[in-house]
Assembly symmetry: C2
Homo-oligomer: 689 residues x 2
C-alpha cells in the first residue's frame, strides 16, 4: 500500500508543484502575502526598496501598520537595526532595508520577533568575483560573468541592469554590502576609462541596495596602462598615478569602496618586484584612497617555490610587517594556510597580527569541493573556521573574534567570500550551491550563527511547503517538516564532511587533479614542475607512510600556532584525527584512536563518503513529492554524478596509496570499480560540468 501511495504521489506531484528554475533564489514570491500600511518619514531610493519589499512580501497581520524610523540610537551600529513586529529602527536607510529583510525572513520562516537589536559582526561584508573582463569566471561553474562580456563590452543593456538589480537585491537580503567585481588576477585594463564607465553603471544599480563597488587592481597598472617606466610604490610618479586614478574613480563613483590586491602571489606583480615590502605597496594605495574613505584589501595568499613548507609562508612573510600598515589596509587571509581545501586547520595568521586588521577570505565557489556538481553545504566549514580557538588572547580567542574587532581595535572590520555566481538561470549551477551564497552572507552578518539555523532558514525560504489552500491537499502542511525539512537539513549539514571523506580525509590535502581541481590527482607530478604545485609534495606518500611532517622535527609549522595548540598538533596522540596527516607523516600501520591502522582508517573514511552520498540520493529521491519537478530532477541528476565521481575519487586515492601501503583494502569494504591507470589515462578529472 505504501508503495502504491508513493506511486500515486509520483505522478500527481508533477501537476501540483509549478516547475521552478531557481532564479528567485531564497526570495520566492509567496501566495500568502497580504496588504500592509507603511509609515516612513523620509524617502530615498533605498527606503523606496524597503517599502516595496514590505508591500510585496508582508505575511503578517493583514493591513497592519509598520513604521520605519531613522534615529540616532547609539546601540545601533551602522547597518544595524532594532526590530519589533511592526517597527524597524535604524541609524541609516541601509539599516532600515536590512531590518525589513530580516522582518520578512522571520515571517517566512515562522521564527518569532522579540524587541531586539541586530548589529553586523563585520562592517564590510564582501563578495569577491573572480570575473575576467572577457566574461569568463575563474573557478566559476555557473556560466559566464554577470558583469563583463567579450562582445559589445561597454553596452549596458536593460537585461544587464535587471540582472545586476536582482543580484544586488539578493545580496541586500542577507546583508552583503560590497562587491569586488573583477578577478584578483586582475587585468590592468579594468582601470581604463571604458571599464571604469561600465563599473560606474554597475555601481549605480548596486547602490540603492547598499552594495558598494570595489575593484581588484593589478600592481603593474602604472606601467602597463599608465605608460610609466616603473610601478615601484615609492616612486613619486607612481604614487601620483594612483592618486590621479583614485580621483578619477571617485569622480565617477563617489561611494567607491576601494581596492582588492593580489600582489607577489602566483606570478602577479607586486612591491617585492622593486625591493619593497607588502606594507610599502599597500600603504601607497591606501594613502590614495584615504581622502575618500576607501580601503585596501591586501591578500596574504603568498608562497614561493623554494620554501620547504608552503603552509608556513604567509605567516612568515606577514607577521614581521605587523604594525606597518595604514589603518585603511586590511590583510585578507584565506581560512586555511594552503588554499581553500575541503578541510584545513585555520591559518595561524589569525590573531597573530595584533596591530593590523585581518579579514577572512572564504571560497563560496566550490573550486576544490566538486564545483557545481557536488552538493556541499559549506556553512559548516566556515563555522568550523570561525569557531576555531586561536588562543592568541587566551581561551575563546576564536578566528571570529580575532577578525571582528572584539579582540583587537580595528578601524575597519571585514570578511570576504569568493562568489559562485554566474549567468546560469539559477545563478550558482547547483540549486543547493545557492545555499552557500546565502550562508556566507548570513555568517558575514553574524559570525556566531550556527549552520543548523542557516540551513533551516534557507530551506524554508527556498523550498517552502506548498500552500494547502492552493493544492487542495493537506499533505504538505501535515508532514512537510518531518519528511522534507528535517532530512534535507540533515543532508546539508552532513554534506561537506562527506566530501572530506571521499576526497581528503584525515588531514590529507591538495591531492586533486591539477587540471580543473575537480577530480583526484594524487599522482600528478610532471618533471620539472615546481614541487609545491604537485600533490606528492603534500601527501608525501611512500612505503614508509603518508602525510606532511609539520611537527617540530619536520617543517615546524606547528610553531606558528599558539600554545596549547602547538603542542597538541605536534603529538599524533593529541592531534585531532581530522588534521592528522596535515601535521604528521605516519606509517601505514600506525595505530589510530579507533584501534584501526592508519591504512584501514583511510579506507574506511573514503568508503564512508560514498555511503553518505548514496544516503543523500535516497534522501532526495524520497522528498520528490515536496519539490517542483524541475528542481527535483536537476538535483537528482547532480547527485547521481556526484556519486559516480565520488567513487572515482575513492578508487583513485585508495588504489594510488595502496601502491605504497601494500596492504589490501579491508575486505568488509566495497571494492574499487575503477582502475587506476584508466582514471589517469582518461583524465576524467578534467570534467567541468
Amino acid at each position: 500500500m505504501k508503495t502504491l501511495l508513493l506511486g500515486i504521489l509520483f505522478v500527481f506531484t508533477a501537476f501540483v508543484l509549478k516547475a521552478q528554475e531557481g532564479h528567485e533564489l531564497w526570495l520566492r514570491s509567496s501566495q500568502k502575502t497580504v496588504p500592509v500600511k507603511i509609515i516612513c518619514s523620509k524617502n530615498t531610493p533605498t527606503l523606496a526598496i524597503a517599502r516595496q519589499e514590505l508591500q510585496q512580501g508582508w505575511q503578517g497581520e493583514p493591513n497592519a501598520t509598520v513604521t520605519l524610523s531613522i534615529t540616532k540610537n547609539k546601540k545601533i551600529k551602522t547597518d544595524g537595526f532594532r526590530l519589533t513586529q511592526h517597527e524597524v529602527e535604524a541609524t541609516t536607510d541601509r539599516g532600515i532595508l536590512y531590518g525589513v529583510y530580516e522582518l520578512l525572513r522571520r515571517q517566512q520562516t515562522g521564527e518569532g520577533i522579540q524587541d531586539e537589536i541586530c548589529n553586523p559582526s563585520y562592517a564590510i561584508r564582501m563578495l569577491n568575483h573572480w570575473d575576467n573582463l572577457n566574461g569568463t569566471v575563474e573557478r566559476g561553474y555557473a556560466g559566464m560573468s554577470i558583469f563583463w562580456r567579450k562582445d559589445d563590452p561597454f553596452v549596458v543593456t536593460e537585461q544587464d541592469k535587471t540582472r545586476w538589480q536582482e543580484y544586488a537585491r539578493a545580496n541586500a537580503s542577507i546583508g552583503i554590502n560590497g562587491s569586488s567585481i573583477n578577478n584578483v588576477n586582475a587585468s590592468p585594463t579594468v582601470l581604463t576609462p571604458e571599464y571604469l564607465n561600465r563599473t560606474k553603471a554597475i555601481a549605480a544599480v548596486l547602490r540603492p541596495y547598499g552594495v558598494k563597488t570595489y575593484l581588484s587592481v593589478n600592481f603593474s597598472s602604472p606601467k602597463v596602462i599608465g605608460g610609466l617606466p616603473t610601478s615601484d610604490p615609492l616612486d613619486p610618479a607612481v604614487i601620483k598615478w594612483w592618486k590621479d586614478k583614485v580621483d578619477e574613480i571617485y569622480t565617477l563613483i563617489p561611494d567607491f569602496g576601494g581596492f582588492l590586491v593580489k600582489a607577489n602571489s602566483e606570478g602577479q606583480p607586486g612591491p617585492q618586484d622593486f625591493g619593497r615590502t607588502h606594507a610599502d605597496g599597500a600603504n601607497m594605495l591606501a594613502d590614495a584612497l584615504t581622502p575618500y574613505g576607501g580601503i585596501v584589501m591586501w591578500r596574504a595568499f603568498v608562497y614561493s617555490s623554494n620554501d620547504k613548507d608552503r603552509a608556513k609562508q604567509a605567516y612568515t612573510e606577514f607577521v614581521p610587517l605587523d604594525g606597518q600598515f595604514r589603518d585603511n589596509v586590511i590583510i585578507q587571509v584565506k581560512n586555511g594556510p594552503i588554499d581553500f581545501q575541503p578541510r584545513e586547520p585555520f591559518s595561524p595568521l589569525f590573531g597573530a597580527m595584533k596591530k593590523t586588521p585581518v579579514m577572512t577570505e572564504f571560497q563560496v565557489t566550490q573550486e576544490y569541493l566538486g564545483h557545481s556538481t557536488h552538493l556541499a553545504f559549506l556553512s559548516t566549514m566556515w563555522e568550523e573556521c570561525l569557531q576555531s580557538d586561536t588562543y592568541q588572547e587566551g581561551p575563546g580567542s576564536t578566528v571570529a573574534r580575532c577578525t571582528d574587532g572584539s579582540l583587537y581595535p580595528q578601524k575597519y572590520t571585514a570578511i570576504a567570500g569568493v562568489s559562485n555566481i554566474g549567468l546560469d538561470t539559477n545563478w550558482c549551477g547547483h540549486h543547493f550551491a545557492q545555499a552557500n551564497w546565502y550562508a556566507y552572507g548570513r555568517l558575514a552578518w553574524n559570525n556566531n550563527l550556527r549552520s543548523e539555523q542557516i540551513a533551516d532558514e534557507w530551506i524554508r525560504q527556498t523550498f517552502p511547503p506548498a500552500s494547502p489552500s492552493t493544492t487542495g491537499s493537506s499533505l504538505y502542511a501535515a508532514d512537510w517538516r518531518e519528511n522534507f525539512l528535517v532530512p534535507v537539513k540533515r543532508m546539508m549539514l552532513e554534506s561537506r564532511e562527506a566530501v572530506v571523506n571521499y576526497m581528503t580525509p584525515l588531514g590529507l590535502h591538495h591531492i586533486m587533479s591539477a587540471n580543473g581541481h575537480y577530480g583526484p590527482g594524487p599522482w600528478w607530478a610532471p618533471e620539472k614542475m615546481r614541487a609545491d604545485w604537485t600533490p606528492p609534495y603534500y601527501h608525501q606518500a611512500g612505503t614508509n607512510g603518508v602525510g606532511f611532517d609539520r611537527t617540530k622535527k619536520g617543517s615546524d609549522a606547528v610553531d606558528q600556532y599558539r600554545e596549547p595548540l602547538a603542542a597538541q598538533f605536534n603529538d599524533p596522540a593529541t592531534c585531532p584525527d581530522m588534521f592528522l596527516l596535515w601535521f604528521h607523516h605516519l606509517p601505514w600501520d600506525y595505530k589510530m584512536k579507533s584501534g584501526r591502522t592508519l591504512w584501514e582508517e583511510i579506507c574506511a573514511h573514503y568508503d564512508k563518503g560514498i555511503l553518505q552520498v548514496r544516503q543523500f540520493q535516497k534522501t532526495w529521491d524520497k522528498v520528490q513529492p515536496y519539490v517542483d519537478s524541475s528542481r527535483f530532477v536537476a538535483i537528482q541528476r547532480k547527485l547521481r554524478t556526484q556519486c559516480s565521481d565520488a567513487l572515482v575519487w575513492k578508487d583513485a586515492c585508495l588504489l594510488y596509496f595502496q601502491q605504497f601501503s601494500q596492504m589490501p583494502i579491508p575486505y568488509y569494504l566495497e571494492r574499487p570499480v575503477n582502475n587506476l591507470d584508466e582514471i589517469r589515462a582518461n583524465e576524467f578529472l578534467k570534467r567541468i560540468p
Copy 2:
C-alpha cells in the same frame, strides 16, 4: 593483526606464484609428476599422444605400469572407455586418448577411480567457430581467428600448427571431437580450392587428437562460386555440383565431418528462395555426404519479420517437416526459442520432432552475457536447459534425453557450442571464460554432469594450489580448499544468475543494445526497423504493464509446450517467476508471490545483481594470496568493469521502465548513478573490450 598478516601476504605472494598468462588453460604442467611405465600393443598418432600425455602428466604411484588396451568390449561405445587406476580400455584409439585424459584429470583433482565404464552422451560433440575468412570472429571477444587471417591467408606457419595442436589437445582433453571452423554466416569462398587446402592443413593437425573438421556452407555456393544459374536444391546441376564438391573435399580430407548450414535465416540464402523446404535443402546436401558418412547440421534458427511472435517460428516451421529428413541430417536448435539470452525457457522443438534427430546449440561465447568482460559461468545455464523436462514422453523427458538418443532412436546424436576462442594469449579473453569452454566439453560428454562438479574440476586444474615443497609455506596446503576453492566455486555457480538479475530478470529478454549486444538498450527502436529486431517488441512495456503475452489469450506460444507445461506457463500464478514476463504481460502493481509488486520485484532483482557482483569482487580480492599476480590482476580488473557496467544495466533498465511504471524505485534500494539520457547519448552500450 589479521590485517597485518594479510598485508604481508599481499607483498609476499607476488614472489611466490609465478605469473601466468593463462595460455595453458586447465592443462597446466604440474611439479608433482613422476615416472610411469606404459604398455600398449599398438601404435598410432593418437596413441602416441596418449602415451606422451601419460608420461608428462602422471601423478600416481611412481614407476607404476599403465596398460592401454584396444578391445571389442560391447559395453564401451565409440569414444568411450573403461578405466581403472592402471588401465584404460577402449574400442578405438580415440577412446584410449579420452581415457588417459580422464585418468590424469582424476589424479589432478584428487577424485578417486573405480573400475568404471564411461561412454559419451553424444556421438558428435562440436565446437562451432563463427570465424570469418578475413580473420575476424563474429561475436568473438578474444582476438582474431585461430584458423583464418587476412594477410598471407594460405600460408601455414609453424606458429599456426602449434596453436591448432594446442587447441586440438584442449578439445581432446574434454572430449570435443568436432570443429566447424568457419562462420555459419558462411562465405561461399570457403569451398574454393585454396581454402579447402588450408582446411586440409587444419584437419591434419586436429586429426590425431580425434577432432574432425566440418565446414559451414553457404546455400548459394553453386551459383556464387560454381557459376550455375541457380542454387535450387532440386536442380540436377546443383545436385551434381554439391556431389562433386563433396568428392573434392573427401579427396583432401578423408575423415571430413560434414556441413553446418544456416539457411533462410537472417538474410542467408536457402531452399525457400526456390520454393523448396528446409528438408529439400538439407536432404540434397545429406545425399552428397552419405557415401562418406558425413552429416548435415541444419540450423532451426529461423524467423520472419511478419510473425506476431518470433518465439513460435522455429517450431511452426520445422515440426511439419518431421519425418522428412534423411537420417544423416540433424536439426540444430538453440537452447531457447529466441537467441542465447541470459535466460530463456527451453525451445519447444526439443522432443517435438520425434522422427528427426535434434541437437542443442549452446553459445559458449558470451554474446549476450557481457562478452569477455563479465564473469559468467554458463554451465548452470546449460544444465538448466538440459535438465528441463519437456514431458514429451511423460515426466523425465528432459531436453538431455530428447537429444541423446535415449528417448528417440537416432542414427547420429550431437551437440554444438559456439566457440569463445581467439588469438588472445589466454584463448578466451577472460580467464574465467575458459571455464565455459571446459564446461561445454564436459556436458557434451556427460549431459548429466552437475555444474558444481564441473566448476570444482576446473578450478582444481586451472588454479591448482601451490605446492608446499616449492613455496616453503604450508599455507596453501592447509587452507586452500576453504579459502580458495569453496568461495571461487560459489562465485562461479552464482555468476550467471547475477547476470540475469542485472540484465534480464523475471523473464525479460532481448533488451540489449542493438550495437554489439553488450549494454542495455530497452529503448532501441529506430523508425522503419523491423519490429522483431527491437527490444520494445519483446518487453512490451507501457503504462499498463510489461512483458510479452504468450498465453492462450496472447500469441499462444504456450501451446507449443506439452502439458502440464502449457497450463503451468499460461497462468501467472503457476508460471515460474524466472519466466514470468516471457509468457505474461502484467500490470506494474501485479502482486508477486513474494508479496511485492511486480515493479518492486523488478527493482529488487536488478539491485541484487549489483550486490552479487560486488560480492564477487570481494571474493576475488580475498583469494589474492592463492593466485599468481598476472591472472589475479587481470580478473580483478574485469570484475571492476563488470561492476560498473552492471550498474549501467540496472540504471538504464530501471530508469527506462520507470517511465512507464511511474513508480519510485523502492527507497530501501540504492539509487541510480547514471542518467538515462546520458547512457543513451554516450552509446556506452557499444563497448567491446
